[in-house]
């Protein structure tokens, strides 16, 4: 059975939900403690939501220097699949494993509500099971989710297909940057999730694990979890190295 690791930082609070969603997708889910220097032979790693180290200094920055993150960075450099959700996205951004930064929400408020996002690509390990252009209903719960990168970086991301998810209207149209309803945190170009340059590390602010069962009001997020687990299983069977990471 494919083993997926879910990192637990002090202050993580979506780790149990994420472990559960991974199990629903048919994988063995194991906790990886933040002090662990190794990844226990997992085929994929998820950094869950929460408030790692209390979000002190900047969301994600203290977690970025924890021992497990050195192992995650090595794993990613060797082509390993890594997904960061919400606070996990912030950790990945602080670690430089995905481009950009997450700023304070435009209107300063913590946002706990449902949004719609669309996958810009369905040919990635994180989105292969999704329908292109179909809006998905997922919850957000964050104070610092406003995606930022400079214009040159944003242009590169768009050109190279590194914009993975965008906030969307109910009709599934990509939200305008200034649309306070559909893009509530003010993310530049309404970016909700990005991919690294080699396509094996992704982060997104909305919570797929909280929308993975009918009882939760939406199963739209389960496609992301299932895509990730499926891709990790394939790689475990036939390891792929990208970027020639030494």
């Amino acid at each position: 059975m494919t083993r997926i690791g879910v990192v637990v930082f002090p202050g993580s609070n979506c780790d149990r939900d994420t472990l559960h969603a991974v199990e629903l997708a048919g994988a063995e889910a194991v906790e990886l403690w933040h002090e662990s220097p190794t990844l226990d032979g997992v085929a994929g790693v998820i950094l869950p939501g929460g408030f790692a180290y209390g979000d002190y200094l900047r969301a994600g920055v203290i977690a970025r220097f924890s021992p497990v993150m050195r192992a995650v960075a090595d794993f990613a450099a060797n082509g390993g699949l890594v997904l960061g959700i919400c606070n996990g996205f912030q950790v990945l951004a602080e670690a430089g494993l995905v481009p950009g930064a997450l700023l304070r929400n435009r209107d300063l408020r913590f946002l706990g509500r449902e949004v719609r996002i669309v996958a810009e690509r369905t040919d990635t390990p994180f989105t292969s099971g999704l329908d292109r252009g179909r809006p998905m209903r997922l919850p957000i719960a964050h104070g610092e989710g406003c995606y930022f990168a400079d214009d040159a970086t944003l242009d590169t991301l768009e050109r190279d297909g590194q914009v993975l998810f965008r906030y969307a209207t109910a009709e599934g149209e990509a939200a305008a940057e200034g649309d306070r309803i559909s893009n509530p945190n003010g993310s530049l170009r309404a970016i909700a999730g990005v991919l690294n340059a080699t396509g094996n590390v992704a982060g997104l602010m909305p919570h797929p694990e909280r929308a993975s069962e009918a009882i939760l009001g939406s199963r739209d997020g389960f496609g992301i979890v299932r895509s990730f687990v499926g891709a990790a299983a394939k790689r475990a069977a036939a390891p792929v190295l990208v970027g020639g990471g030494a």
Binding site: L103, R104, D107, F148, A149
Partner: protein, 96 residues
Amino acid sequence: MSATFRYAVNVTPKPGILDPQGRAVEGALGHLGVTGVSAVRVGRRVELTVEAVDELTARGVVERLAGELLSNPLIEAAAVELLMSTSSTTSGEPGR
């Protein structure tokens, strides 16, 4: 031979980065009846003490921390400011 140096690292949002905190503070100015104040930017200040052989070495450590940990260079600028230095040896002899 070593000395201690007290620094402040002032971290502020880079020009052009949206600073909703600064904007919220600016929004409160009117409630105080204050006019003519603009361009409010909210950052943070971190003070720390470094023990090193000299100020150049100490500053090197602080600048590394400022760039890697205390600020995110994508969105923030960090300025290092020496507050105080204390020499722990008075003679020029090498320490043991």
